[in-house]
Symmetry: C2
């Protein structure tokens, strides 16, 4: 199959919306943005051996993850997904077939989030599989959910449960797109981001951007069953709580809200997944942990992309 045939195939696989001005297969995609609000852009690259193992996880789960990590970033900004472009760098052996599988699976998964694949780039080489997805979203009237808006006294909240993602959730997580859109529409949130590199590391980023610190309540952290299981399995001597605090790829939402608004949100529990209060923003920079009425400083730790 030539690149031309491949583009034709792609065009038949990938849904095309009425408002596309230029059909797929030209030098670039043209999106009608006239009726849309501001443009939100995020890009994530996943590499064989670092973010997935193709032989173990299979193309469908890998394709899903490549799109889902970007959807999680759009959710974290409070943006509605619109479109994505996909670059594939494929192992030369079987490149064509793998490209078809990945793109078909991505197109299907994208549809579930009302998002379209509008273009990209496909190459083969002697190395492992690399997938880059750049996703575009539109802000809603609620505006962006920034990470630098947390204020002294704000309550810190998380969706779902944390830790142990490497036992499977890092591939199969549901990006919190609909959850984020529902929350920003109905509640006054000060700040928010997704937890991609571990709660402590991402919380340090949120508080640093906001010019405050945070005190966490150890007993309040929602620990996933996987975090407990991984704590035993890994033999690292780390507790389940340690995993919930520092494992990467939770892809849950970390939020800050003024106390009265947080109370209302916690009472309402408006999502199908739990929202849990885990701490409070304080004036002094840095992170602390309250454990049985004993407060200790904690250092941000998690996944370092260049480590």
């Amino acid at each position: 199959m030539s690149e031309q045939d491949f583009v034709s195939w792609l065009r038949s696989t990938v849904s095309v919306a009425d408002d596309d001005i230029v059909p797929l297969g030209d030098d670039a995609a043209v999106l009608n943005w006239a009726r849309r609000d501001n443009l939100v852009v995020t890009s994530d690259l996943l590499a064989e051996g670092t973010h997935f193992c193709l032989a173990e996880h299979g193309p469908t789960r890998v394709a899903r993850k490549a799109l889902a990590v970007n959807l999680s970033d759009l959710a974290a900004m409070g943006a509605r997904p619109v479109a994505a472009v996909v670059s594939l760098l494929l192992p030369r052996q079987g490149a064509q077939l793998l490209a078809e599988e990945l793109l078909r699976d991505m197109a299907l998964f994208a549809q579930a989030y009302s998002m379209r694949i509008v273009g990209g780039d496909t190459n083969s080489w002697s190395g492992g599989l690399v997938i880059n997805v750049t996703a575009f979203g539109a802000l809603t009237p609620a505006g962006p959910l920034r990470r630098d808006g947390a204020r002294l006294g704000d309550i810190l909240l998380v969706t779902g449960e944390l830790g142990g993602s490497r036992l499977g959730k890092h591939l199969d997580f549901e990006p919190r797109v609909n959850e984020a859109l529902k929350l920003i529409q109905h509640y006054r949130l000060s700040a928010g981001m997704d937890i991609s590199d571990g709660l402590l590391l991402d919380l340090a980023r949120l508080t640093s951007a906001s010019g405050c610190g945070a005190v966490l309540e150890a007993d309040a952290i929602p620990i996933s069953a996987a975090a407990s299981a991984w704590g035993v399995q890994s033999g690292s001597g780390q507790s389940a709580l340690d995993h919930a605090l520092s494992d990467g790829e939770d892809f849950e939402l970390l939020l800050a809200a003024p106390p009265d608004e947080a109370d209302r949100l916690l009472r309402d529990q408006p999502l199908e997944i739990p929202i849990t209060k885990i701490g409070v923003c304080v004036a002094e920079p840095g992170l602390w942990m309250d454990h049985a009425s004993h407060r200790t400083p904690v250092s941000p730790r998690g996944f370092d992309h260049l480590g």
Copy 2:
């Protein structure tokens, strides 16, 4: 340097425009698109060993190429460059330093095209360097320069000279951004694209999309000095013309215009580089070459991304 420090450094290196709603370092970039026309999006991935050799070419030229191939795609759509996001997958050894060099060089090169780097993703691994750039442009009132608009009788034109790009031009070419914007503003073009995979292969794409064929004049093809040199050096038995017809990575513009408009354009020669008439669009699908009043069919050949 932590990722947080890295983002701070990046923020100080990369120029930030007044209309950014959310500063660099949040989950995603937010661009104010309210005053802009439709959104043009293109994405290109470059890989060590396939598109460049880092040790031989050095980070500055590699960084430049990664951005320039995307600028060429924007030019080919008649779009004005606005912003780009950059994903880096770096060899683990020296990852931080290399990331800084690449991003600094890209930011500088972007500035020359009034384009800003607004975000991206940085990872390291055990493999070679991979760079993905997704670039955003805005259409001008002249609208998009599509590849499917060529009509029977249209004259085919190219900018600059073709072939032998691998002797250096594939790294140092000037993307025809300003040239394309000038041409679409002042001339009625039927179709256009950039020549990235070889004249014949890209011309076949343009004519196929437009539902026509093309006859080329062998004597009219502008052959670069590099194509002649490479024809000798490579020892492949290919003539300089063969190289001009099928070498990849020329990154010149291939255009179609109605005869009267093409005449005016050829007379005016409005660019600092030559524009040359190379052939004409015909009704019958396929490609032909006129050589000393002898017409032969030619098969599209060039760079196959999955070959």
